[in-house]
């Protein structure tokens, strides 16, 4: 797929299994929307093979559209219609729609069912958006950046709705640039950068995450030097620790239990408090930043 001289995506090789939530992650301009719009049948591609539900979206017809649901990046609905009316309107487009009342309940909009779309909050509007994609009872749902621009509580609510799609047995293709979103929702993640896929796998294992070093950080009390630390800890610092700033110590280790034990026993024996003590596995975000840099 290319625009003039610019190739937007190339050599993407993806397979999404039925009934899984698949997250397609990448920075802005990485080619996420281009890819998803090819899959949705909105865009023509220059080459390659694509099959969605066994059909090439470029020549898929109404029958195929009965089986998919689409949520675009912006919320798009008729502002003058209420939640219930919008869903009734869309339900009429499908041969075997889901019940409108049930769909409203599924996205948690019971309290706003008779409110016009124009008066909904951002989070509610997004839930209506998902409901509109669900009311035709599709097998496959495309969600393009479903929570971009949301406040944290609206994001949580949207996540709950998306997670519930798994229980309905739907296949979900989700694009996002939030790693925590992929981590919270997806069974599998692919990271796209500059139009190519750089990593793919379960969120827990992506980029060798499960076998990477754990980071431990803490603050030394005044007057205590790194040289006073027990041998196991000092060794871990020596092997790849960042320099201590304002007595802040951060170290990485592949044996977090042994190092922590040495550190905390040492601190307890001296009656010291270690401020800001934190143990962290590399997050998906760390992996992502490393891969996209």
């Amino acid at each position: 797929m290319s625009y003039g001289d610019l190739e937007a995506v190339r050599g993407i090789d993806l397979e999404v299994a039925g009934r899984e939530i698949f997250a397609f992650v990448g920075p802005n301009g990485a080619g996420k929307t281009t890819t998803v719009e090819i899959l949705e049948g909105y865009r023509e591609r220059d080459g390659g093979e694509v099959a969605v539900l066994g059909v090439d979206p470029a020549d898929a017809g109404r029958r195929w559209r009965q089986r998919i649901g689409i949520v675009l990046q912006e919320c798009n609905m008729q502002p003058e219609l209420t939640v219930r009316e919008s869903l009734e309107l869309y339900a009429g487009y499908y041969e075997a729609p889901r019940s409108v009342a049930e769909t409203i309940e599924l996205v948690g909009l019971e309290g706003a069912a008779d409110q016009r779309a124009a008066r909904l909050s951002g989070g509610q509007r997004r839930r209506l958006d998902v409901a509109l994609a669900l009311v035709g009872d599709p097998e496959l749902l495309f969600l393009d950046e479903p929570t971009t621009g949301f406040d944290p509580s609206a994001r949580r609510q949207a996540w709950e709705v998306i997670a519930s799609l798994r229980d309905l047995g739907k296949t979900v293709f989700l694009t996002t640039h939030y790693m925590d979103e992929a981590q919270a929702l997806a069974d599998r993640v692919a990271i796209i950068v500059g139009g190519a896929i750089v990593a793919e796998g379960a969120p827990g294992e992506l980029g060798g995450r499960s076998v990477r070093a754990t980071s431990i950080s803490f603050r030394l009390p005044a007057g205590v030097l790194t040289a006073d630390l027990p041998a196991e800890v000092a060794e871990a610092i020596g092997g790849g620790a960042r320099p201590a700033v304002n007595a802040e110590v951060e170290l990485r280790t592949e044996h977090p239990v042994a190092v922590l034990n040495a550190l905390t026993s040492w601190a307890l024996a001296r009656d010291l408090e270690l401020g800001g003590l934190e143990v962290r596995r590399p997050s998906l975000e760390d992996v992502y930043l490393e891969l996209t840099e």
Binding site: Y42, L72, N76, E80, L81, E95
Partner: protein
């Protein structure tokens, strides 16, 4: 649902959307009614010296109907379809199994029904408020004129969306096109007071021809059934032009 049932389904919701939108109700319904009342009060009892002299209120009833029909069809479709396109609503609809022709048919049905309603409303108000006689003997030709005019201006409205780049530009561009034509076509100012050069300019466009055909229907001096085939042919030709442009260039996705 079959095609026709689906059109009716779409139409029902489009009607609700129309009547709940303050801008569309004001410009399509309130504005022409207000105009009729104001003009009627101002010119009541006067004679307009055109077509051998015609009672001024009788002149302005078909003028306001012209305004209302163009608003209900061309202006309404050009604005609402552009807003839906730029808001991504049309793109989203393309992702559903709804056939595109059904959606457009529903919207056009909505415009036609509104235009017919305005014809009835303005004619009735003209009779009730100013005693303008209802031309029963020429009703058939009037309804045909209304049908040809509404359909043609619907096609032009869909075509107009192709030259409107954004939501914000929609009211400016549509009003820039229709308002000068209303003035030049004698809709706001009696024909006799417009220089003939200006009338010639208006003659190239469909608004004046729709107005002339409707005026012939309301003018008691018109003989026979009141068919104005020449005028209708010009309106229909513009309609065909609009249809071809719409068919070739109508877009479902936002420009930006």
């Amino acid at each position: 649902m079959t095609g026709i049932a689906l059109v009716l389904h779409q139409f029902r919701y489009d009607q609700r959307v129309f009547w709940r939108n303050p801008a569309s109700v004001f410009f399509t319904v309130m504005f022409p009614v207000m105009f009729l009342v104001l003009l009627g009060v101002i010119v009541h009892g006067q004679t307009i010296h055109t077509k051998g002299g015609i009672d001024a209120t009788t002149y302005f009833v078909p003028a306001v109907i012209t305004l209302a029909v163009v608003s209900a069809t061309m202006v309404n479709l050009a604005m609402s379809l552009t807003i839906l396109r730029e808001g991504g609503v049309l793109k989203r609809l393309r992702g559903t199994p709804l056939p595109s022709w059904v959606f457009i048919a529903g919207r056009i049905g909505n415009a036609l029904v509104t235009a017919l309603l305005m014809f009835v409303l303005v004619t009735a108000l003209g009779r009730l408020l100013f005693g303008v006689p209802i031309p029963w003997s020429r009703l058939v030709s009037l309804v045909i004129t209304l049908a040809v005019g509404s359909a043609s201006f619907c096609a032009l409205g869909v075509a107009m969306t192709t030259i409107i780049p954004s939501r914000e530009a929609a009211p400016a561009i549509t009003n820039l096109i229709v308002f000068p034509l209303y003035f030049l076509s004698g809709v706001f100012i009696p024909e006799g007071e417009i220089p003939s050069g200006a009338l010639h300019v208006a003659d190239a466009f469909p608004i004046r021809h729709l107005f002339d055909a409707l005026l012939a229907g309301f003018d008691p001096a018109t003989g026979g059934a009141g068919f104005e085939l020449g005028q209708l042919a010009v309106v229909a030709a513009w309609g065909v032009f609009g249809f071809v442009v719409a068919l070739r260039r109508f877009r479902w996705e936002p420009r930006i």
